[in-house]
Subunit: 185 residues, 4 copies
């Protein structure tokens, strides 16, 4: 049995390390997980006045894609010691309309990264606070604060360091168990 995993990437720039990380994680994931990026860059800023039957098409598309997933992974850099606005906006869009959240009950993981040593700790835990409200049970260990992410990849986007590759593999193996244990039934 395969679980579909919606992957959200918190950085919008094309060559982002976070997006490369999504690819790297997909490569080491066990066969029981199928990872697909759900795009967030075209979502208009959430405004309740626009929601409802005539909601922007991008919101509707996004909500459908999240609802179709069995599990969710959040990969994110840190902007100003917190979650990038673009990613938080996606979370807000997915949480509405009131009573119709797309997130509820889908098991999740949070992986933060940064070029510096702190590895996006602030973004990671702010995200976790939102996921309590959204009823997304989040894998606790291994925590993933990936520092020095700018040195992870070669020109083809392959992870060069063996220890890093092993850690990413451990993340995905553990998450597969977590998602299987906590998936909606």
């Amino acid at each position: 049995m395969t679980l579909n995993v919606a992957v959200l990437v918190g950085s919008l720039r094309k060559g982002s390390y976070t997006r490369m990380l999504a690819q790297a994680l997909a490569e080491v994931a066990p066969d029981t997980l199928k990872l697909s990026i759900v795009e967030i860059g075209d979502l208009p800023l959430y405004n309740e006045d626009l929601d409802g039957d005539a909601a922007p098409a991008a919101w509707t598309r996004f909500r459908s894609e999240v609802k179709a997933a069995d599990a969710v992974m959040f990969l994110t850099p840190e902007y100003n010691r917190s979650v990038p606005g673009a990613l938080k906006n996606a979370i807000d869009v997915g949480s509405r309309p009131y009573g119709g959240s797309s997130w509820s009950g889908r098991p999740g993981a949070v992986i933060s990264c940064s070029p510096g040593g702190i590895g996006g700790f602030g973004a990671n835990h702010h995200l976790r606070q939102s996921l309590v409200f959204l009823d997304v049970p989040v894998m606790q260990q291994p925590e993933a604060y990936l520092g020095g992410v700018n040195k992870f990849f070669d020109d083809q986007g392959k992870v060069t360091n063996e220890d890093t590759r092993k850690f990413l593999t451990t993340i995905m193996t553990t998450f597969a168990k977590w998602a299987e244990t906590n998936r909606k039934r």
Copy 2:
């Protein structure tokens, strides 16, 4: 001497209580403060690829308005136990380009609100964490977690309860001193 205060409103819907709060606070502010709302609803999601000389006009407009202010106030509801994506996006836009943050050194205040009793506590403190990085010295007391905000106003947007009005006045009086003490010189 008058200090110009940039006011950011975290909710985009037209009839938002947070926006009414901005008006109410302006009315009780001492003469030494001039409050003006800086709009955030038209800011494209931050994407480093778009930044630089050809940055979106809305970003440039926003950055200029923040830079022209002597102090900043953040009024915000809570979305999913954190800062609304739209407001966080504005903070991100204002923090860039690298080395050219619009926020640095401007004294600030954070006021959160909600219809329920918790008063946006989660949004309030997540915002404060970002403001550490952005070097915005934030007024500590009075803390403002305004619960029951949906019952604050009459049809003309006037605050009906005398205690509430007094508390808003105390906030503004204390902030005037805070902003004067900590303004850039």
Copy 3:
């Protein structure tokens, strides 16, 4: 099958509302859970110099009791917008010595309370941040920020309000499922 639940109470005063809450939760818990308070008031402040073979008896007692449990519940007031020092100290004691944490893998719940309306939100989420590190999978919903806790009980410590009683029952019923799903195997 019955799961043993270690209950930690964050307030040390005898007549504390948090302790009364422990009793009230035990009364509405399903038969599959057996709740027992693990005392924290006699634990010396954690100091690595004192740890090891000659560790204080209270530390050893505490660690044994947590290790004997299948699941853990943290009931706590908020002190200064965070976890009471006494409760955090207990968490620190249980997390050591290095490599021998008593917490790992035990499913948990966090319930915060306060006389005021905010219900210990700050303590609740600070605790959750520690529990990520400690590999305690924490129930996300229902969140429990119990405001007005000083009005919950009659002279015999019984919960007087029916809605409150129902909410406490829902907490325990949901936690029973959470603990069963995520218990160590």
Copy 4:
């Protein structure tokens, strides 16, 4: 004019890096600041039943020393992604009895450290959340998340790396200005 600075050290073990840091910071502080460690290791866990006229002598001693200070510095390792229980307990003791907080209005700084790369980020910001409530205006920049602290010192406790020494000097110089600007008058 000299400001007295109460320094709290979050680790109780004798040879703690955090305590060595206190010494190192005192050495590079400008003449306008006089740093003194206020000990926290003998404070009984806070229990409201014990407070009042017959409060433990260690509490009374601690409260007097904090009240005698013009400013406060918190130096802390991270325990389980948050503030060590011993330090949080000291904060709680100083905040009481109700209405008689020892902290109010004293400008402060938070400096966290760890052997690893994250530098105590979690402890740092949890502490800051408490200091909002306690009305301690906290210096925002430079943020101090001191990673690799176990390699800072030689056998005599001297900071060996010139860049580290410069950063510690910048912290103290900036704090001197912050404390002067925001001290109680």
